[in-house]
Every structure is written in C-alpha cells, then in structure tokens.
Symmetry: C2
Subunit: 235 residues, 2 copies
C-alpha cells in the first residue's frame, strides 16, 4: 500500500520548545523539514544546536535561511543593547521585554509557508507557548489563529488545490515542566538544546536571561535534573 507521506515544516531554533515540537511532529508520523534562521541574533549558538538536533532526529532536510533583521533592529537580541538579566523569574519586569524581536514569528512563519508550499507540506509546526513565556504577542493563540486564516488566503496551493494550511502549536497551553516531561518521554536529550539569549564566547548559557530562567523553572517544576551547563552555575 502506498501510504501518502504527511509532510511538515518545523520551525527549529535549537531551543527546548522547538525541539520538543519537532519530536512531537515526528511522533505524529510527519516527514519533517526543519527551518532555522540566521537573522543576526547574538545567540547564534542556537543554530549549532539546531543542526545537532536535526542530525539526531529523523529530519528529512534542515534549511537555514539568511535574513538580515539586525539591519532593522529593535531588539536586544540583534542590537548592541544589554539582554535583561535577573536572579529569578519574580524579578522579571512586567510588560514585553527588550528581547522581543519585531514581527519575528510572523516573518518565520511566512517563510515556512513558502517552503511548505514548495514541499507540499500543509502543516507548519511552531513551538510557541502562552504559559511559561515572555509575553511576546506573537506567541498568543489569537495571533496564531489569525495567521492561519491569512495563510489560507495567501498561497497558490490554497486557491488552486484547496489545500488547508494548519499552523500546529502543540505546546501552546502547556507549562514548561509539561513540555520537558513530554520531551523526555519522547527521548530528547535536552543537553544538546540551547535556550540562552546571551551565551558567553564558548556558547555557555548565562543562567540569568528570561529564557534561561524559564528553562530552569521548567526542569525544577518537572523534578528533572537540568543538563544545561550555565556559565556561573548559579542554579
């Protein structure tokens, strides 16, 4: 029997969430195509992690697109601006932090639509989470729903072949601890993932940026040892 191959594009940052999302997509039986971006981010070590992850998983192809978003700026991830650091999550400031990158998920999802159309993949997986997150607007369910609606009007395949695009967000309503538990069950070795926004020259995680704090909290809440090596080991 010639079973039809289900294809998916998975946005892969090399971090904890996108890696878990990739493992879920593979578990669901998709042939996965992972998409990463070099967009001028200071934490480009995530791309090394993304590469390692796609090698470890059964990923059909890994594409790293180049886009010079650092020329647009507006974020402490791309500009010469300090990444906010705190000792714990309680000290995190209210509001959307400076690590927000303008329209990042919109740009990444748009490129995923393009690649998906060429590949014949109608499912796009993205590891957004609206529970243990930094408050980025483009991680919220209402944003994802609006993007999906737009996507279904944007593409030749949606018009000519009546293909429905689905933006898949399996982590959307999960806590970070649940994400980690799910990933462990799926056999992820989280030591190869990279979450830190501001690693040192060797790629060691700072342990104090929002992303590190959320990661630490997740492992702590899940009761699982965090395999990350932090630069100050201040866990």
């Amino acid at each position: 029997m010639n079973k039809k191959i289900k294809k998916a594009v998975v946005l892969s940052s090399g971090g904890l969430d996108s890696t878990t999302t990739l493992a879920i997509a593979i578990k669901e039986g998709y042939e996965c195509y992972s998409l990463s971006f070099f967009y001028g981010q200071r934490h480009k070590f995530e791309l090394t992690a993304a590469k390692k992850i796609t090698e470890k998983f059964d990923v059909k192809q890994h594409l790293v697109l180049n886009l010079d978003l650092d020329r647009i700026g507006g974020s402490s991830l791309t500009d010469d601006m300090d990444v906010p650091k705190n000792k714990n999550l309680k000290e995190m400031s209210n509001g959307i932090p400076t690590t927000y990158v303008p329209a990042r998920n919109t740009i990444f999802l748009s490129c995923a639509l393009a690649w998906g159309e060429v590949l014949g993949a109608s499912d796009i997986f993205i590891g957004v989470n609206a529970v243990d997150y930094s408050g980025y607007p483009d991680c919220r369910p209402e944003y994802i729903a609006a993007f999906e609606k737009m996507a279904n009007l944007a593409l030749k395949s949606t018009v000519e072949k009546k293909i429905s695009i689905r933006i898949r967000t399996p982590l959307l309503h999960m806590s970070k601890a649940d994400i980690i538990r799910t990933g462990i069950d799926l056999g992820i070795d989280y030591s190869i993932t990279h979450s830190c926004y501001d690693p040192d020259a060797k790629g060691l995680a700072c342990g104090m940026c929002d992303s590190c704090l959320l990661r630490k909290k997740g492992f702590n809440d899940a009761g699982i040892k965090d395999p990350t090596i932090y630069v100050n080991q201040c866990r």
Copy 2:
C-alpha cells in the same frame, strides 16, 4: 506648531505599481521609508530602479534586505525555469502563472511590519492590484484584510501602545491605465521604473512576460506613450 510626523513603510520593487504607490503615500503627507528585497530574483535590475526612484522621490530611507528565497524556490523568478512569454495578454494561460513566488507578499509585508514597528510607522503601503494582475492570491482584497487583522495581533506596539496597523493598498481596485494616469499626474517619470520579469543582460525589458504585457496594456489603454525600451521593440 509641532505637527506630528506620519510615517509609512512603502514596499518598493522598482516597478510601475509600487512607484505609483510611493508617490501616493508622499502626496498624502507621509514621511516614507522604502523597503526592497534582494531575494534571488532573476530581475534584480528592479533594485537598481528602486534605488533610482528613492533618490528621485523624497524618501527618508531606502532599505534593501537580503533573503535567500531562491533556496526555497518554487518560482520561475528564482529558479532555473523559463518565464512564460506571450505575444499578447489574450494568450496568457489561465490560472496562477509560474512567476508566482510562494508567500512573497506575506514575507515582504511581515518584514515591513518589523521595520515599521521600529520606526514608529503604523501604515504599510503595498502596490497590489486585483484588476490588471496575474492572479496572484496574495494580491486579493480578502488576503490583505486577513493580513491586516493578523498584524494587529502580532506586534508589541499593537498590544502595549494600542497602535493600529493599516495595510494601505491604494491601487487595489484600479486598472493599470488608471494607475498610470494617477502616476503621471503625480509627476512620475515611468522610464526609470522596471517591470520586466526577464530582462536581458543590460536590463532591457523583454516585452513578452506577463508583467511587460500588463504594463504595455496600461499605457495603451491610458493613451500615454510607454517610455520603456523593450529588447525587441515589439510594441
């Protein structure tokens, strides 16, 4: 009186439509920031045209972003594939032609959102047209409306400052002839614009691709001499 500056990002391909859109935005009193893309297109002469246009107009800044969409492919504008040529518009095939670039407007508009947010520009102008066009899905009014809705959920500025993003499409329901008449009234010298999808090595327009045929039809219908130099001068 310190009049508040209205800022707009204008997507500028160097072609007839986007140049007219830019002239309209300037006429409306916007401080304009034009955005172009080098995305691996074969007709990169359009970027030279876009540069000339921004120099001619009162554009505050012209940004050319690099994005390697040719690695995604799926279009005769980026792939090693013939651009469809015909003697006249009647011979144009039905359906969406191979010059369609997957998710192009979605990607371009997404980057415009990002730059607009950094600049404090809530209006994004794009020269899409749903009358004399190639049937691209991402030029239709329903697509633009859905993109705008999504945009208003995507950005920090829409959440924290309650700013409304407007996707401005002044040409949407105009014929090509009306666009040209409008542009002439606004003082555009169309000889510096570039529409051709498949120019020769010197940048001369082929005169037979959809874009050339639509351009020719526009000048013809408007009763205005087309200043374009076509490679075969087969007007």
